[in-house]
Structure formats: structure tokens, C-alpha cells
């Protein structure tokens, strides 16, 4: 099987998962008693958050791996993780207010989790801006990796500081104590959606990673051709 075929197969599988998750989110899961239909955004909001955290964890680990090994592959994985993570964080930040407005009555509150998400969005946007503003190759991967380490260290401090500040976001629904829990069909919809989003995240990271390495090859080939033309 060629690599492209494999990639297409993975993409098709992810698409099927996403469609199934959409169906379950809209029809499979029962309507929530107090919030009504708007609660269904939950099946996109929470999985997007999980996908963003996973992608950003990939960024942090790949950055550490880069500092240890200075391998181009680790750097490519770090870029992929940051970009995909930022995209999912954006989804979280868009679906959150859409859900908050009818339920809490406001678009935005300075709650720990919301504020942390916003802070993380700002951080990883600044990480990508650094990559944009420094010349390619050379010191760029090293500087970006260092910045990623600084940011990863910042997240727990951010969370603590914001939690002291104020709180309104609901407690975690899963593993959140005796009163938490979901109706079985809601849980099924959530888990399906979670799987679909994580798969989508993995496919996007893999594609972006491959693209980075392919770009290196193209640059290399161009340089070789230019050298050959000169001789």
C-alpha cells in the first residue's frame, strides 16, 4: 500500500467517525432536561478541548525531544502539534460562548477554565508568531522549542492563579465526584465524539508533520538543482 493510499484510508475512516459522532450528537443522545437542545454543543466542545490538550502535549514533548536530540523530525512534530492544538483551542473558544450565552446568560465569564483556555490560545498563537518572525532553519527550531518549554511550565501556574481569582465553569462531568455522571446514551455520544475528534487531531498532526518533512525535501532538491546549474 502506498503512503498516500494509507493516508486516504485514515482520512476516510476519520470522516466516517466524525459523521457518526455528528449523528449521535444531534439524534442519538437524548435532549438534556434543563438546558435543552443547546446542550448538544457539549459533544463538540468537550472533545475539541481534549483534542487541543493532546495536540499541545505533543508539542511540549516534541519540543523537549528536539532540545535533547536536535532532530528535525522532532521539530516538525512540534510545529504540527502547536498548529493543530491552536486550531482546536479556537473551536473550544468559539463553541464555549455559543453555549454559555443561553445557559449562563452571558457570552463570557472570567472563570478559571475559560481564562486558562484563552491564555493558552494567546500563548500558542505567540509561539506560531515567533516561528513566523524568525528566519527558517538556523536557530528557529531551538528558539521555538525553548519557548514551548516556557509555555508548558506556565500552564499549571496560570491555572492556579486564575482559580484563586474566580470560578463559574461547571465541575467536570466525568470523574467529577458523586453527583457527576451522564445518561448512558449521552455518554455514548460523548465517547464517540471524543474518539472522532482525537482521530481527526491525529490525522491532521500526521499530515502537517509529513508536509513539513516534504517541504525540507523540496528545498533540498531546489538547492541541489541550483548548485548543478551553477556548475
Amino acid at each position: 500500500m502506498s503512503k498516500t493510499f494509507q493516508a486516504n484510508l485514515l482520512g476516510a475512516g476519520t470522516l466516517a467517525l466524525l459523521l457518526a459522532a455528528l449523528y449521535w450528537a444531534l439524534y442519538g443522545a437524548p435532549t438534556e432536561a434543563t438546558m435543552g437542545t443547546i446542550q448538544r454543543i457539549f459533544y463538540y466542545h468537550v472533545p475539541a478541548a481534549a483534542a487541543s490538550w493532546t495536540a499541545l502535549a505533543i508539542n511540549a514533548l516534541a519540543s523537549l525531544a528536539y532540545l535533547a536530540t536536535r532532530s528535525r523530525k522532532a521539530d516538525a512534530l512540534a510545529v504540527a502539534g502547536a498548529e493543530v492544538g491552536l486550531a482546536f483551542l479556537t473551536i473550544v473558544l468559539i463553541t464555549g460562548p455559543i453555549w454559555a450565552r443561553p445557559v449562563w446568560g452571558v457570552w463570557w465569564v472570567w472563570d478559571p477554565r475559560l481564562t486558562l483556555t484563552l491564555a493558552m490560545w494567546v500563548m500558542y498563537a505567540s509561539y506560531l508568531i515567533l516561528r513566523q518572525l524568525t528566519p527558517e532553519g538556523g536557530s528557529q527550531p531551538r528558539l521555538a522549542a525553548v519557548l514551548a518549554v516556557f509555555f508548558a511550565a506556565d500552564i499549571p501556574i496560570d491555572y492556579m492563579s486564575i482559580r484563586w481569582w474566580r470560578g463559574q465553569h461547571p465541575a467536570p462531568v466525568l470523574f467529577g465526584g458523586p453527583d457527576s455522571g451522564l445518561a448512558p446514551r449521552m455518554l455514548a455520544a460523548l465517547l464517540l465524539s471524543m474518539t472522532a475528534f482525537l482521530a481527526l487531531m491525529a490525522v491532521l498532526v500526521a499530515m502537517r508533520y509529513r508536509q513539513e518533512l516534504l517541504r525540507d525535501r523540496i528545498t533540498g532538491l531546489r538547492q541541489r538543482r541550483m548548485l548543478a546549474a551553477e556548475n
Binding site: S126, L133, R142, L143, A153, D154
Partner: protein, 224 residues
């Protein structure tokens, strides 16, 4: 030479240049003064506003001034390519960075020494303001800004948009520190809350980022 002596030498040299030229110090001080004055107009400052938002206004002014100082921390080196001179000596990156940190820290503190009394007058700080607490917060907060800022100042040397990049990198990382500084100052001005937590958070932040900055100093000062 020991690392401490190298750091001291860098710090002393930077401060000497600064005191003889007085370029950054004057510009920074005047800039911060302008911000405070403009704020007092823009917000029609009165005692009520100070109780509610005095800390935020004070720290935004300090933040602006700090950005100027931190931007210059390594800019001075690039004018005559003296950084590569420093890098060819056996001095460790951590020692150079520590020296730069020290000079930036002291410069920002000098500006704050002018800014705080001005703030007290223009914003009618309440009589029961705990100035000791505010000075402690200023020292801890300035340490946080200088520790990260010096590091990012060195980092942004490699960029095409140096002056622009520094705040873009520093502000996101500094969010918890800024939150803590503002909240603590607000409490010391007479607002509600417990300042204790915020000061402890600042101390923790200072320790973590000083260690991280010194530990990773060589990575950012590495010669190509």
C-alpha cells in the same frame, strides 16, 4: 572568573553605560510618567477608581516602561556586535544572562521609584494604603518581568522584528504574574482579598522562571 563575578561585570558595565548616556532611563521614566498622566485623564481618576482599578493602571504603566528597558537589554549589544565578543569569552550563558537580568531589574526599579509617588498623588491613593506591601509586590513583580523579559530579549535578537516580538512573547507567559501583581497591589490599596496568596504565587513564579531562564540560557545565547 566565577560565574557570579562575570554576572557582576556585565551588570556593572550595562549600568555604567546607562548612567553615562541616560538614554533609556530618561526615555523609560518619561514614557511611564506619560502613561500615568494619560490614564489619570482618560479614566477621570478619583479615589473610587483607585480602589477598584488602581493596581491595574499602575501595572500597565510599569509594564510599558519595562518593555522599553528589556528591549534595550540586548539591543545595546547588537549595535557594535559586542554580544559575539561576550560569547567568545569562556563566560557561561547563564552568567551573561544573570548580569543582563540584574541591570534590567535595577533600571525598572529606578523607574518605579519615580512612578509610585506620582501614582499616589495623581490617583489619590487612600491614606490607609500599605506601601510596604506595594513595594514588596513591585520588587517581586519586577523580578518576574525582568527574569522572563531578559530571556525573551535575547531570544528575539534572532528575529526580523525584534522590538515587536518581545512583548508578543513576554505578555502571554507573564499572564499569571501580571494577575498576581495587580491583585496584590489592589489588596494593599484597600481592596478585598488576601494579598498573601498573590505574593506567594509571585515568589513561586520568580523561582521557577529564574531557574528555567538560567538553566536554558545557553540555548538562547548559543553561537550559530
Amino acid at each position: 572568573m566565577s560565574a557570579a563575578r562575570i554576572a557582576w561585570a556585565v551588570l556593572r558595565r550595562d549600568l555604567l553605560i546607562e548612567l553615562r548616556g541616560r538614554e533609556a532611563l530618561l526615555a523609560m521614566g518619561f514614557y511611564a510618567l506619560l502613561v500615568i498622566v494619560i490614564f489619570s485623564f482618560a479614566f477621570s481618576a478619583d479615589a473610587d477608581l483607585t480602589l477598584r482599578a488602581g493596581g491595574s493602571l499602575l501595572w500597565v504603566a510599569i509594564l510599558f516602561a519595562a518593555m522599553v528597558a528589556l528591549d534595550r537589554a540586548f539591543l545595546r549589544e547588537s549595535a557594535e556586535a559586542t554580544l559575539s565578543g561576550l560569547q567568545t569569552t569562556p563566560a557561561s550563558g547563564a552568567a551573561i544572562l544573570a548580569g543582563k537580568f540584574g541591570s534590567s531589574f535595577l533600571l525598572i526599579c529606578a523607574v518605579e521609584a519615580v512612578l509610585l509617588p506620582l501614582f499616589a498623588v495623581l490617583f489619590n491613593a487612600p491614606a490607609h494604603t500599605r506601601w510596604g506591601g506595594i513595594i514588596l509586590t513591585a520588587l517581586l513583580g519586577t523580578w518576574a518581568l525582568a527574569a522572563n523579559g531578559t530571556y525573551f530579549s535575547a531570544l528575539s535578537l534572532h528575529s526580523r522584528q525584534r522590538g515587536l516580538l518581545l512583548p508578543l512573547l513576554l505578555l502571554p507567559v507573564a499572564i499569571p504574574a501580571i494577575l498576581a501583581m495587580v491583585q496584590a497591589t489592589q489588596v494593599f490599596l484597600g481592596g478585598p482579598g488576601v494579598a498573601n496568596y498573590w505574593c506567594r504565587l509571585l515568589i513561586g513564579y520568580d523561582i521557577i522562571y529564574t531557574a528555567l531562564g538560567l538553566g536554558l540560557a545557553d540555548l538562547v545565547l548559543e553561537v550559530e
